[in-house]
Subunit: 212 residues, 2 copies
């Protein structure tokens, strides 16, 4: 599994899914061609995320798409996910590698060159860099104000691991993020809250492919 090939990285959040449940949205997004799914669901307890994770594992496995779990290494292991995504205030990358093994894909949130370089040295397989733009999903972004595509490019130039731009990214602005140096884009609301998540996923995937 090579994160450098990921164009569209779906992050789940039931509270931004227009009243639909997350498996429904993820099924549609997988049909639309997303390349990886992250179980996030901030504000949902571990027991519920565990149950939801089992369902998403089935859906992603059927689609041949990797599943990554946000924050929690134990939850990632429990649902047999392909990896974990760790924020700056989560457990160290080394702990995740030790628990999940050499084949796990481990991502790290970074918004500065310093954070990005530290994550690369510690063994991260990719970086989630942002928030690129101000976003209404502020509770699910790691920064309140957007850092902008230019900073995404600065971070991407500082490391050899692929960068996924996250935060307020949609079909309109994804080109700027990829032009700046991101390998792909992570998307929440632009897919989960779309009238047609499958179509939205397809469109964003095309935009990223064209921009590469």
């Amino acid at each position: 599994m090579d994160p450098a090939t990921w164009r569209t990285y779906l992050v789940t959040q039931s509270s931004h899914s227009a009243g639909r449940d997350t498996p429904t949205v993820v099924s549609a997004a997988l049909a639309g061609g997303v390349d990886v799914v992250q179980l996030r669901e901030k504000g949902t307890d571990a027991r519920r995320r565990y149950r939801l994770g089992g369902r998403l594992r089935e859906l992603t496995e059927s689609a041949g798409v990797p599943l990554v779990v946000n924050d929690r290494i134990d939850l990632a292991a429990a649902v047999d996910a392909d990896g974990v995504h760790l924020g700056q205030s989560d457990l160290p990358i080394e702990v995740a590698r030790d628990r999940l093994g050499p084949d796990a894909v481990i991502g790290r949130s970074a918004s500065t060159v310093e954070e990005a370089e530290a994550a690369e040295v510690a063994g991260a397989d990719y970086l989630g860099v942002g928030a690129v733009y101000g976003t209404e999903s502020k509770d699910v972004a790691d920064a309140k104000d957007g850092i902008g595509p230019e900073r995404v490019g600065t971070v991407a130039n500082a490391v050899d691991i692929p960068v996924i731009g996250i935060g307020g990214v949609d079909a309109e602005n994804a080109t700027s993020v990829v032009d700046a140096g991101a390998a792909g884009v992570a998307v929440i609301s632009a897919i989960t809250a779309a009238d047609d998540p499958q179509a939205a996923a397809g469109t964003i995937g095309e935009v990223v492919a064209d921009a590469r």
Copy 2:
């Protein structure tokens, strides 16, 4: 390690430690004879709890006292704790057993006979039952109103694993909790916020020993 022998179970919470840091409070409590320490620290991010957990692991190991981590199986494994304490909304006991192994001590919060029986069947080694009394540490208790010592006794009678009463327990009321059927008591503020945490730990340990 036999949780049935635990008289005084210290739960850490920096925000209820009268401005002292948790290692200072834990050192004093260990000198006062607490039998087990749980790293809780609600509201503190995983990275900080990881660092604190490493420090508490050293202190508890020197004292020959087990260390348990609240909620997170990954954090428990990362700091080489002796076990984990899981709330009703945390990951299943079976997941913890699978990840931490047969020698780990796994506790579960329970406030009803049904929850207690389910936890015992799932392989819990002890139960934290409460909140026994209404407590000012509401953010660190699993119930807002006290269930009372009588209910603690009802739950304790329903299972063979030891019950630790938690929530608003102090030197004044610990006797009632043990008389009702608890093997020991879990304490936060009555030790962490005490003028002299060592003396407070010693007093509560004596009260429980006398009531047994």
